[in-house]
Symmetry: C2
Subunit: 599 residues, 2 copies
């Protein structure tokens, strides 16, 4: 069974839950996206993903990337699929017009990103990284650099990477050692020579594009220690002449690639800089701030990784569950057969509906984030509207990234579990979903880092102010739908969320470790409640469609029933997270590091 | 960092929590196990596992088994390690004396089994399957068959398998099609010819032993349909002459081996029977009952798989967490360094202590099961004692198997998570723990099947009677320790357990689907509470040692602190399981199978 793009579900969220047509009507870029254009993009994107990417997914896992003397060969077919992607103009979909882009709102590109990840996670990360690199260069680099680098990046002829991690530092980038010294011989402004070694560089070297543009964190000679002494550079694999033609090979090279649990088709590279020529693309020492343009975009991408794997695992498990006959159901589905399809059995349904409610709930959350990204980027919205959208993204980005990556471990493991032993063997592809999804809890900041970002750096640091726009939106929904059963239940969860936040805030005043101790449970709590909000929105939208005599009532009834399942069988989990947080940090700190084990 | 056998922890459970010396003093077989003998076995077993099995673990994963024309080659070193295992007499440790065994109680062998699994899961399954096969033949086969087959099986020269699953049936064995017809030409009694195809046969073919003895479920010509028409057979790879020497090759052959997510070093075989000669080893049509000797032993083995992976992941993550410097702790651990070990950070401790409390709690549960197995097998205990032990095992086997395999997904994933990106790459071995552990939720009955066995077939069917011996034991502990804080909290959990069971029982009277819907949440609820009971026992034992001025107080203080962590940060999860169960089955059944997705 192959993954199919769930276009009906995507249309439902687009038109009925988030009113994207209404959203697009409010700003210049959006006005180009009339419903017919959007539908055409969705359909063509789905065809590309189903026909060209999905068939390479298992091959990519089996073959993996090959490394030989600095060169990386991607799995069979990857290069050709990328050529077709470029030829059909997909890379430039949301690129800025001045550099050859088609200027579509980000939200449109994010929907296509979900389809690409679901079809082939490994492949999707070659263009995926480029997208963040383009936005970073576009937002922060000097005009001359943009003019030289942006056009081929937007067209997809060159790809991008983000170079942060070093062997001795990942989460704690303040420790990084790669350094840059001014290039005295250079004719251009802002040229430096970079030296150091970066690891875990996704898509860091490959055979799909003419050039690779590395976006690199490094220290200047006079840099303050720690996170406030980091600057951001652009380092191309091939130097670029002033007329834009490729020059000589830069002294940046791939030293090796990693053998990994999953995403075998994506190269994870050691990238060595040996006095490599690079260009400063932000103010000196303010590189982290600029890098967050890239990091935030990537975190939304990772949220989609988690969500997409939930969707694919659900689809594959569902197909099997409808086909596989084991045990008899009450009542029988088909008396003439020795057994009934396993989808008749409640425990199998529990697994499938968990997958479904997380996958579809996650899609609403991610697409809502896409809507907010559009708002933050368009001058047509008021300052207040843009600030509110920034606040929503500040809260929802770590929630979406952390929660959807964590839950993807449960959903993809259910994909295996529904198939029983058949799920554990490679043939059916379900175990690959687990291995590929597993990276999403790690990159762009582990779940622990997301939790700290959410609770510490965002919510507590702003004394809750950052939550206001989201809470206002949710409260308005609750008020508008006060007789709706989901809205009623949601009201209770929102009030618990607020009191839990206050309670952690108070504990943190006594002991700052309480924040670190609560971080992941708090993030999961927020994730469940946020997705509950979107399921309530979906149920209201579906009930409205049913009230209006929708032509496919079963589709809408299923949405309401899925919301019901989510509230009844998934939401009880918040009780555990809340209680664990309230029990505090003390039992975690009682054992000295040396006494954790007596071996 | 290599896995080390946690001998101090094993001794603590042996001597202080479960009073195994007192247990061994009560029966003939046990009396041979004086403390010095036991210590010598533990130490020699640990050496064998650490020195001979552990070094092959990663090699086994990388190389995997090779299949060529019916033959399976195990990874480099596996065969030699097995030869050394046999040479040193380990296979016969718990084998019956009359067939050359050393007659040790089962509980001793189970402790060694944990060490072997932790060192090398794939390798451990070659002798692991034999152990169940030996017990099945010993318990059910006619004497003549035993005399011919038992001695080389006990000595380890031959290994065993269990052949249950067929392509169209796994959980629902009533559907199986392999059939046996009387072998008219045979000179021996009970000889049949078996035809059919079995899949997922662990250790079904390999190069480590002279012969392989398959224990096979098949139908006789006059068999009733379904589960009541299944008989049990012994089918050797090589026929065995009456004098015990090997005869000609039987017509049973390995057709292929599976490519799997993990346990690459263990062969998972398609086994084809083509009028293969076999021997009936139970009464006709009563094969399932006899097979449960094998299945129950194997389920305990799988419980140990889960627990052992938790232990190994904990050890490896701990070593990394003490070494890796990222971020500064409050207060600083070492001012002279730029950052502190990540074990200083509460969220990392949360992960490590979850691993530790599950691994060590699971060990107590498993070793307690071993103690009960000893009791069921010894005629020195009264009928009542043996029946009580049977009841305890009836309840605790599905709990241990289901709960410890499910939690191993969380603990082994934390092993990756503590290492961050380094956990996802193969080098450190943490991702292998996840892939190897993943099978444990599947084989010997999925978690869903364990949940149904526990709640439906055991507890509700007996109207709670099967729970009585366990509950009596726990209540006696609570009464004896009524001022202990853990015992006090435990009392509340036990009372919730009882009321939850009644509540599911009532719901099931209205709708039997409620049992299936509750099964996995109920099993997890029971798992958390059962392990909480053992942590309370451990805390009481540790406090006693501290009161007696134990020479290594930090060891005991850590036990109490771990119990504290488990009660404060893990036990809140039961709230979620209880609430989910109480919300019932209705939301699971509301959607027609055809409406789960609209693709």
């Amino acid at each position: 069974m192959n993954y199919k793009v769930p276009l009906k579900d995507i249309r439902f969220v687009t038109n009925e839950v988030l009113d994207m047509p209404g959203h697009y009507s409010q700003f210049t870029k959006g006005k180009a996206v009339d419903p017919d254009t959007l539908e055409a993009i969705y359909e063509e994107a789905a065809k590309f993903c189903e026909n060209e990417l999905e068939p390479l997914n298992q091959i990519g896992d089996e073959e993996g990337c090959k490394f030989d003397n600095g060169e990386v060969t991607t799995p069979k077919g990857f290069k050709e699929a990328y050529a077709s992607f470029v030829e059909n103009g997909w890379p430039s979909l949301c690129g800025p017009e001045e550099f050859g882009g088609q200027n579509m709102p980000e939200s449109v590109g994010l929907v296509m990103m979900e389809m690409m990840i679901a079809s082939n996670h490994s492949w999707s990360m070659y263009p995926g990284l480029s997208s963040g690199a383009i936005k970073t260069v576009h937002t922060h680099a000097p005009q001359a650099l943009k003019e030289r680098f942006m056009p081929p990046m937007v067209a997809g002829n060159w790809t991008g990477t983000m170079c942060l991690t070093e062997p001795h530092c990942g989460s704690d980038l303040g420790l990084l050692k790669t350094f840059a010294v001014p290039d005295a011989e250079a004719s251009e402004d802002g040229a430096y020579k970079l030296s150091g070694s970066k690891i875990f560089i996704s898509s860091g070297e490959h055979d799909m594009a003419d050039n690779i543009v590395h976006i690199v964190l490094a220290r200047l000679p006079d840099a303050p220690v720690g996170i406030k002494g980091i600057s951001l550079f652009l380092v191309p694999k091939f130097l670029v002449n002033e007329d834009g033609s490729l020059g000589e090979r830069n002294t940046v090279a791939c030293g090796s690639i990693e053998e990994k649990m999953g995403i075998h088709g994506n190269s994870t590279c050691v990238i060595n800089f040996d006095e490599a020529k690079g260009y400063l693309i932000s103010e000196p020492h303010k590189g982290m701030r600029a890098m967050f343009t890239f990091i935030n975009e990537s975190r939304l991408g990772v949220a989609m990784h988690g969500q997409a794997h939930s969707e694919v695992s659900f689809q594959k498990a569902l197909a099997y569950a409808k086909d596989r006959l084991q045990f008899r159901a009450h009542p029988r589905v088909d008396e003439s057969k020795a057994a009934d399809p396993i989808i008749s059995h409640p425990d199998v349904r529990r697994m499938l509906l968990t997958q479904k409610s997380i996958a579809e709930g996650g899609r609403m959350l991610n697409m809502f984030c896409g809507q907010q990204v559009d708002i933050t980027l368009s001058p047509d919205f008021s300052d207040e509207q843009r600030e509110d959208a920034e606040s929503m993204l500040a809260v929802l980005t770590p929630i979406a990234k952390g929660f959807l990556s964590e839950t993807s471990m449960e959903t993809t493991n259910y994909g295996i579990q529904v198939l029983g032993g058949h799920g554990f063997i490679k043939e059916w592809g379900l175990e690959q979903e687990v291995r590929d999804a597993r990276i999403s809890q790690l990159y762009e900041g582990t779940t622990g880092i997301q939790g700290l970002d959410l609770l510490g750096r965002k919510i507590l640091k702003s004394r809750g102010k950052v939550m206001k726009p989201l809470m206002a939106k949710v409260q308005a929904f609750i008020k508008e739908n006060k007789r709706n059963k989901f809205a009623k239940e949601l009201k209770g969860y929102i009030s618990t969320w607020e009191s839990l936040t206050r309670s952690v805030g108070f504990s943190a005043m006594r002991n700052t470790d309480e924040v670190n101790a609560a971080a992941v449970d708090y993030l999961m709590f927020c994730g469940y409640v946020t997705v509950a909000y979107f399921w309530a929105e979906a149920a209201v939208a579906a009930e409205k469609a049913l009230g209006n005599g929708a032509s496919e009532p079963e589709f809408y009834k299923t949405k309401v029933a899925t919301a019901d399942f989510y509230y009844q069988r998934i939401m009880p989990r918040v009780l555990a997270h809340e209680a664990a947080i309230k029990n505090g940090v003390d039992t975690m700190m009682a054992i000295d590091a040396e006494n954790f084990a007596f071996l």
